[in-house]
């Protein structure tokens, strides 16, 4: 069985009326690419893999999801799993995040569909979501600690020079004798005095090792005291904004660079964690997470326009399907949804915004047409849980949603796995002029290799080896689950502590 694509991202180019596209998929720690012309590639390439194969004793450590500190060297390929893919606005670069090593990787996309890694920058805290400024100069990285950092997409020589300088003073600082921040004047209780004595004793033993600072340009822009879950960069009439969402129900609207320290306002109303933000074609903001509702905002005025009960749509869909209805809890009041994805459908034809919504562990997509007064939606049943969605344009006025589905777990479950070969890892839905979605076999035909890749794996003759590794990965069910399903974990547990 193949490992599913946990994230996919398309790059659409149009040259003189010719439309071509490239699809990138992250499959565990590998990136697979295929273009509409048929070119394809896999990263890391076989040569890179050779380097790794010299050290087979590393093998047991390769299981995904393991919490180990990795210090990747420049030439060794990563064994960390990709968690986020973003194509630059100019379609030249793919920016990817690998989760376990907290690394932001920038790849150049060449005309032959090959990926060339230009940089890898490991952050201090795990990036949860990244985006690019509209001019592609800067990566905005929202992390698990609640902070947003700005990094140049392509660090200039000057930046690097400054980095070496930046490394200097802190090393000197480390040699300075340690003095506790507390003193006999500030410590009042007997026990604390003892601790202070202990600290001074420790200090006399020599300087403590301090964490090495990041050796590349990164600027702290803003921060929440809560884990960030999504970040959006918006430009409206020459004003730019950074919109951030966190686990504590906040959607914050800040000014864009260089005034990101100014908070303009908050979109308030969520009662559970927020996991996804999405700007529609017309500029509305849609947010979703652990709440039963999706929220639709006029975000520039911090005004809630409409709530759409996504939970009801999911519930109705489950009730209508016998296999899914069996999964519903006895008391339907306990049925909860966690939004794992919201995508704005690029559709220049219609005046109305169309979005697709996925919930974690739900084998369907929900398509909504955002109306002036009321939003109407429909469920699109799929043969596996939705993991990610991206859009390709085969021609001027056609748009196809490529959906990555979970071929490992049974539809509707995030724990139970298929016993036999699971379903296809991708499904293709084309958006019809009448606003409905239909199977697209043409794009499906082009992506046959992409879809089968890793299970057949005959491109470089190393497929079998990949397969053994894939198998080892799939055997670790919990690790697989951790890569694919993390949204419901954001929910706060009642009375966790006090």
């Amino acid at each position: 069985m193949a490992f599913p694509y946990q994230c996919i991202e398309a790059c659409n180019r149009s040259r003189g009326g010719n439309h071509d596209w490239t699809l990138f998929g992250a499959c565990g720690s590998r990136l697979v690419a295929q273009s509409s012309s048929g070119a394809s590639s896999i990263w890391p390439t076989a040569e890179n893999v050779d380097v790794k194969d010299d050290a087979p004793e590393d093998e047991p450590q390769e299981r995904p999801g393991k919490r180990i500190k990795l210090s990747p060297s420049a030439d060794a390929p990563s064994t960390s799993n990709f968690s986020c893919l973003v194509v630059s606005n100019d379609k030249q670069y793919l920016v990817a995040v690998t989760a376990e090593d907290k690394c932001i990787r920038v790849f150049q996309i060449d005309s032959n569909c090959q990926l060339h890694q230009l940089s890898q920058r490991c952050m201090a805290k795990r990036p949860c979501s990244i985006t690019l400024t509209s001019d592609d100069s800067t990566i905005l990285c929202a992390d698990k600690f609640g902070d947003v950092y700005a990094l140049p997409l392509i660090p200039s020589a000057e930046d690097n020079l400054n980095d070496t300088l930046a490394g200097g003073p802190s090393e000197q600082a480390a040699e300075k004798p340690y003095t506790p921040a507390a003193s006999v004047l500030t410590v009042h209780s007997g026990r604390n005095r003892k601790v202070l004595e202990e600290q001074l004793k420790q200090a006399s033993k020599g300087p403590k090792k301090i964490k090495e600072p990041l050796k590349f340009k990164h600027e702290l822009l803003l921060g929440h005291v809560s884990m960030l879950t999504d970040i959006v960069y918006a430009t409206i009439n020459s004003r730019s904004y950074v919109i951030t969402a966190d686990r504590d129900e906040h959607i914050r609207v800040s000014r864009g660079l260089p005034q990101a320290h100014i908070i303009e306002g908050f979109c308030q109303g969520h009662e559970e964690f927020i996991s996804k933000l999405c700007l529609t074609e017309s500029g509305l903001l849609v947010s979703g997470g652990g709440d039963a509702n999706l929220f639709i905002w006029n975000w520039q005025q911090y005004r809630l326009l409409e709530k759409v009960c996504i939970r009801d749509y999911v519930l109705r869909h489950y009730r209508a399907q016998p296999q899914l209805a069996a999964l519903l809890p006895e008391d339907e009041g306990n049925f909860k949804t966690a939004v794992s994805g919201i995508w704005s459908v690029p559709n220049s034809q219609s005046k109305k915004d169309v979005i697709l919504v996925a919930c974690e562990g739900v084998p369907a997509l929900f398509s909504f047409q955002l109306g002036d007064s009321s939003t109407s939606g429909e469920a699109i049943p799929l043969h596996g849980n939705v993991l990610d969605v991206t859009f390709v344009w085969p021609s001027q006025d056609a748009c196809t949603a490529v959906v990555a589905v979970d071929n490992v777990h049974k539809p509707g479950s995030t724990t139970e796995t298929h016993d036999d070969e699971g379903p296809s890892r991708l499904q293709y839905l084309s958006y019809q002029q009448d606003g409905t979605w239909g199977e697209d076999s043409i794009v499906g035909g082009i992506l046959k290799w992409f879809n089968r890749r890793a299970s057949a794996g005959n491109l470089d003759g190393r497929g079998e080896e990949f397969d053994t590794k894939t198998k080892a990965r799939l055997d670790d069910e919990k690790a697989v689950r951790d890569i694919l399903y993390g949204v419901e974990n954001l929910r706060k547990r009642a009375g966790a502590d006090d």
């Binding site: 921040a181 306002g265 308030q268 005025q301 911090y302 005004r303």
Partner: protein, 292 residues
């Protein structure tokens, strides 16, 4: 820990013994409300907080300022209309439920409330709010507010001061609208000495953006600490933040709040007894620059 149950039993017995008619004029006894001085600001305490400032039930905290019933009906209607158009974030004035004027002074991490009770008579026409993350300590201040209101019923004293439990590091914008506050006090905050705990400090470059958001231009953040290292940290982070400027020494000497902050906080008194040092620094919220 041994001894815990006895302590709890005593506390419960004490609290049960308190009269419930609301007319009790006796101050609460601090020894029944003590709580360890540290709280984890990152954990999901079972806190209650409004979804937005517009939904805050302020009348519960400032009953003397509660809007009269006919006003309330009108305000309810207005509120409904406001939910329709929901533009509370945009306007700078606060849309506050149930009271006639918004809170303007916040003491973040108010502890046992020494500063609040000293400030309240000095600002009789302004509403002051203490915010404290520790539950027992909050209860103590609330009890003391109640007792002071009973004692001063004739003059309606202390009606302008109240206290609530809150994690302001996470939820400050849930309580206050943009540019609502004129003063914020950060007195003797937890120093969080360990380097890896620095994000838990009440002052940081990123949190300062939230203080700037709830403060009016010209509003002031007051800080005081006995830990020089923390003083340098707070000063550094505020001076680096483009929305703030340091208030000069001369101006500080003329400010009654600074005097009270030095002498009336419980920590301030403790430091006095130990002949420790006190470091004061204040920062003014400056007007936002035009968009680039």
């Amino acid at each position: 820990m041994p001894g815990e149950p006895a302590k709890r039993t005593k506390r419960e017995a004490y609290k049960d013994s308190l009269p419930t008619d609301g007319q009790n004029a006796a101050f609460p006894q601090k020894k029944f409300y003590r709580q360890r001085a540290h709280a984890n600001p990152f954990s999901d305490h079972s806190l209650t907080y409004p979804k937005s400032p517009a939904e805050m039930d302020w009348a519960k905290y400032y009953p003397a300022y509660a809007v009269k019933t006919e006003d309330q009906d009108r305000q309810e209607k207005e509120k409904e209309a406001a939910v329709e158009s929901h533009d509370q974030g945009q306007t700078s004035g606060a849309v506050v439920k149930g009271i006639t004027q918004p809170v303007e002074i916040a003491d973040i991490g108010c502890g046992f409330g020494g500063l609040l009770f000293a400030l309240a008579p000095k600002f009789p026409d302004t509403l002051l709010l203490g915010m404290e993350i520790r539950m027992s300590v909050t209860e103590y201040v609330q009890e003391k507010v109640r007792a002071l209101r009973v004692q001063n019923a004739a003059t309606s004293g202390y009606q302008n001061v109240s206290c609530m439990r809150a994690n302001t590091m996470k939820f400050l914008p849930n309580f206050f609208a943009k540019a609502q506050l004129s003063k914020i006090f950060l007195c003797f905050p937890d120093p969080h000495f360990k380097q890896r705990k620095h994000k838990a400090r009440i002052v940081s470059y990123t949190l300062n953006s939230e203080y700037a958001y709830v403060l009016k231009p010209g509003g002031i953040v007051y800080t005081i600490t006995d830990v020089e290292d923390l003083h340098r940290w707070m000063t550094g982070h505020f001076e680096r933040h483009p929305s703030f400027e340091r208030v000069g020494e001369e101006e500080l000497e003329g400010d009654v709040c600074v005097e009270i902050m030095r002498s009336e906080t419980e920590e301030g008194k403790k430091v006095e007894r130990n002949k420790g040092l006190k470091f004061v620094a204040c920062f003014r919220r400056i007007e936002d620059p035009p968009w680039p």
